[in-house]
Symmetry: T
Subunit: 150 residues, 12 copies
């Protein structure tokens, strides 16, 4: 049976295209999602996209999806830098998690340079705009396939 | 048409009057709200007051109100010092936000001296008790009027 | 009338037994709860156990329980280290709060060494696995009894 | 008898309108003062405006005015961040002091984020341009009235 | 044969009841010891209580007791925050050590927030006054029993 | 005419497969290079692979290639964290640079958490082993194509 | 000829007795000066007392007095912690300087723990209230006598 | 009955005169003690001088002397900067303690700038060589007399 | 018409030649000024030399000279490291400012390594003794000429 | 015989005019060198100009030139902030070294504010563009002449 | 007459072989001492070995041995990182001291990276297990011989 | 077959005897090498001595020697404190590396107190001048022999 990947977005990512376009670009999330779905389909992979502004909801989604998905592509938005609870949840997940960011967080404010998630994810991709998600999906598929083979 | 201002309160501000009166005073929120409504009415301005203990709900309210309100008076409570997600949301809002605090946060614990919101709001008012809200509302009206004129 | 104690768990503690057993042990929460209930019954004390992955929900529970419970045993999970909002809520509670941790947080990552809650709780117990809860309950009962006597 | 409020400006504020208008706006001090006097007159309050580039002169003015004025609106300019002597003077004053800033100091250089005065003033208002002074005057009047009533 | 537990107190704990009663309470050590002995007797456990103001003597006691006692309840007083030598000794002990504090060290001076012992003990209990010792003894007994079973 | 991408490796990356395989995997560089060449050929792209243990040589290569290559995939190894000279060179390049790392640098020693290059590259990919290079090449091609179109 | 000692007071010390009596005591400066003069007279020493709220004036006094006085007793008030200019002046003086403080500065705010003057004065006396001046005068006389003998 | 003052010296102060004379001078302790005794006798005061290289012994002496002496002059040597245990003991003493240092500790290594004792003593005198003790004794007598009068 | 350059000296620079000659050399200010005047005359440039120990006076001079002088050579002495007020004044000046130091400030105490002025001046020259002024004057002339040409 | 001065440039300075002209200006190195040679010729001084992107080559050049040149003008580029090896080499040179920078390094990123070279060079000139070199040459000549005279 | 060297061990080193063998190896102290004595005998050198868990005793031994021994090999155990008193004693000794460590302290916890003794000893040897002592003895002999020759 | 040890020197060590003799002594490298060769010959060990001012060359030498030498004695000079690339190379070597320093680096500038190499070498010897190399060679031989035996 084919792989099933969760694409999970944190706070304010529902505003993509509208929010600070100088930093986040003018592509909206539905446009990015369409591209991701096309790519996934071509690879024979199913994707599910979720977003929430609530830390607790993101944790609920990850816990409930622990036995459903084969890998996660996670853009936790501002929670990346502040949520130990989300980090603990990611660390406890049995499936690989790929951290993605639209902007180059290292070229922004000091407090965005530390990701609490980074030490517990498989890897991180940042700075390529919507392409970050596509590369992240690719990495997630590769990690999920390798895990299945084990 | 008249201005419409959102007064948004974060965690524990529903407990005003009951919570640590030595720091926050003994006036309850309904009393403060009554005063604000009276002041707003006299100025021909409509206000809407909301409170939540949930970071995600506060972000939802701000996003949903982005095209409804002309300005925001925000007391984010403890989230002031910890929420990058709320900061990102405020930074993305098209309308001016005025940060208010009942207590003089700079005369309290070290960790209350840094506001993650301060760099992305229009201005900050702290330490005047319930008067902080009234002055904040006044500032919000002035900023909204200036914005309309542009 | 007998004492009523709230046992409140924060993010990811619903995954006990499943989550990183090397750190948190392999006992699940229902097993721990059963033990706590047995102990409480023997002491003639009622306990209520709640868990949430949402900071806001935890604050709601504490506020709503302020006049219901005689003491609280709180394991705030990852929020221990990041939530000023939860700290403000605990500081405002009229009843004693006992902070507990399953693992020895001081033997783990640097960012777990600081508890924002510690300065506003009555005391802290960490590192004894499920026993931390039982000792915490015992302490909560003692504190509640002393408070009643005053 | 009516209230008497001191509006005290520190270094470089005599250059308002001329100095870095991108940050401080193009309104000159006489224009701001005129507005403040009009507002004060309407409230039946007397104001006295003073400025000095000298830390020592500012302290002299505050000491000499301690028994003359009912409250102070203070914009200490660059001394805000460096003068323990001014802080000690403010802490020793028997009347309430309101700290005001034209610019949002928290959106500027790191060294402007710490105000040595903030912990010893009644409250702080920053970021609203000339309006900061008007709101500050309003707060000063309210605090002076409350003090008189005691 | 029954368990034998060492209760070891560091500098100034011989002054309990006399020393800063606002922080440490007015119960003297003999009173606490009597309670601990009663509790131990009821559990069929032997306890030995020792105190010294000398870091070196505390290390000597721990080394000499390494093969005598089944667990240790340790309140190292001020040495908690400064003694690497004591930490090294505790780390080398074959039996479990429980760290206890009468006061809530996290609500006191900054330098008391770091315990050099915490990372090498089994767990920590702080803030419950004399009850801290009783809970610590209980934990020590549980840990010693578990160790015997292995 | 087709794109020409430079893959540039810094110190010790010639030892891949031999060096600390627990961290860097057991695949040697020639194997990775073969995969990259295959991928590039399929995309109609030419790649050139270079390695040096010398900071100065890496800068020479980047300067000389500034008008030859359309983009750069750069793994600067240990120089990532220490070389301002390399950073200055990257910042001066007219073509996009993609930073890649085999290991998850954020899960390793503290001093590896800061990349001096990160703020001046287009984006960063880390933690996916040899796949990091393939994703990096993909990103470099996309960035080079976008640049050509401008 | 007899010794001539300068007693120099910095900002706000003219307010002694009036200013924060909980910290600085209720003795006024004239009372302290009277005691110092009596003591000096008994020792056959002349003293001159000066005070200024101006850093520049203090430096002027010290420079002008360099060839007049045999030693200086200096309480620089808030400038103690901030004035490199005053430190440079003290370091350049040919006569010994004794630093005094009424309050125990080490038991107050963190920023009062560092004296910029301390490394360039002969010695420091703090915490004894008015007695600090008398002891400081005594030390200054001893140092001046020793210097004369050389 | 006359006052009884304890002069207590910490580690290495038995080596005075021999130890690093460039820093500590060439006067030996017996010479200093003789001078102190002469001064005390003239004031009708009894002094007892003790020294130990052992932190624990110093604490024992202070505890045992708590009801014997009217004040303490303490030079804790290197323990000044490291001993929380000694600080706790001093804080618990019912009599005033005067901290003295021969050298100007603020003109030496960084780690000597912080005295753990300073916040809990009455006052501090440093930098005057043997004179520091004499001034310290004078201060101790004054504090003891004031305490008796209360 | 010829250029007019202000040479402005801060605290203690009137003592050159007398003050710590090991650091500042034995040339007095009048000697340096004579050399500068000779050099200026040869270049057809007028110079005005001013000195003050008062931060406020320095600011007054700079403000009053803003429309008189074509450039400023500034040695702010100890205020270099502490005065935000002076920095604000320099930042507001319409003419270029050249920062000079006699000594190599980077080879001295840590607190002299940070110049608050450096980020807002045109450039900095330090360590060459009196030559620093001559090079600074040369730079000031060049900058003033370039500005005139614009 | 005439003086011989080495002008030594570090990494990326061969790209002057091409590299980030907003920061470094649009003048190329050959243009600057031509000006320096003209100036040197007029002073009867010989100059040799060298550049390398290699830290080791820069050290080799300085060592080999130690007995050839009378002074050095050094712009170490990015190595200024990172190379202890270069600092050690400069500290060991028998001839004076003048540090120059085109840009005002103190107005740029935090990590450029610390120069490892600054404490071991004679003096530093920064921020005047190509003029920095000319002033640096002038200083180097003056220092070399003074050294010859000794 | 032959040299006499003191080998002095601090806290917990009497437990060698028993204590954390993964870090300190399984050789006991008597075995190491035997080897050292054999080596010393072959060199015609006398050694005396002492150990104490007491900081004060170690200082007593060093003071008493100051005129007896020609050099010291010192492993201060955990006191290495905390004892200013021991450092002061070592700094005052007339004979050379060689600091040794069994383990590589720089590969362990952060707080073990700083040795308070290192700046005042002749040199340091760490990481070679029992061999550290033998090399340390060799160095001590060489230093003692060089000192005798002077 | 006999052991073969590499003695590798970093930047500026070719200048020994000439460079800052107050710190590094007046013995030149050829003299030290002669002594090392004599010692090695007596032990039946071959040594090879190399030096470079280039970080990259040092890494090349270590990589090329990985299968040739049985151990390395490394004095990386200034690169000790800055080179992550060299550290990565040392960490990847299959043979033991002994870090040596002529001077006591811990008694020098703060930035020399951290060795990036220390955590990945077998052990460290510093402060004994040329003897450091001989002791280092001895340690290297012992480690190489132990490794051969395994």
């Amino acid at each position: 049976m084919g792989l099933h990947i969760l694409i999970l977005n944190g706070p304010n990512l529902n505003w993509l295209g509208r929010r600070e376009p100088g930093i986040y670009g003018s592509t909206s999330w539905p446009e990015i999602q369409a591209e991701l779905e096309e790519y996934a389909a071509a690879r024979g992979v199913t994707i599910t996209c979720r977003q929430s502004n609530h830390e607790g909801v993101l944790i609920d989604i990850l816990q409930e999806g622990a036995d459903v998905f084969d890998a996660v592509v996670l853009n936790a938005g501002g929670l990346t830098h502040t949520s130990v609870a989300l980090r603990d949840c990611v660390a406890a997940l049995p499936v690989p998690v790929v951290e993605v960011h639209l902007s180059n967080v290292y070229a922004r404010e000091e407090f965005r340079h530390r990701s609490l998630l980074a030490p517990v994810v498989a890897g991180q991709i940042s700075g390529f705009g919507p392409l970050s998600y596509r590369l992240g999906l690719e990495a997630a598929i590769a990690l999920a396939e390798k895990r299945k083979r084990r």
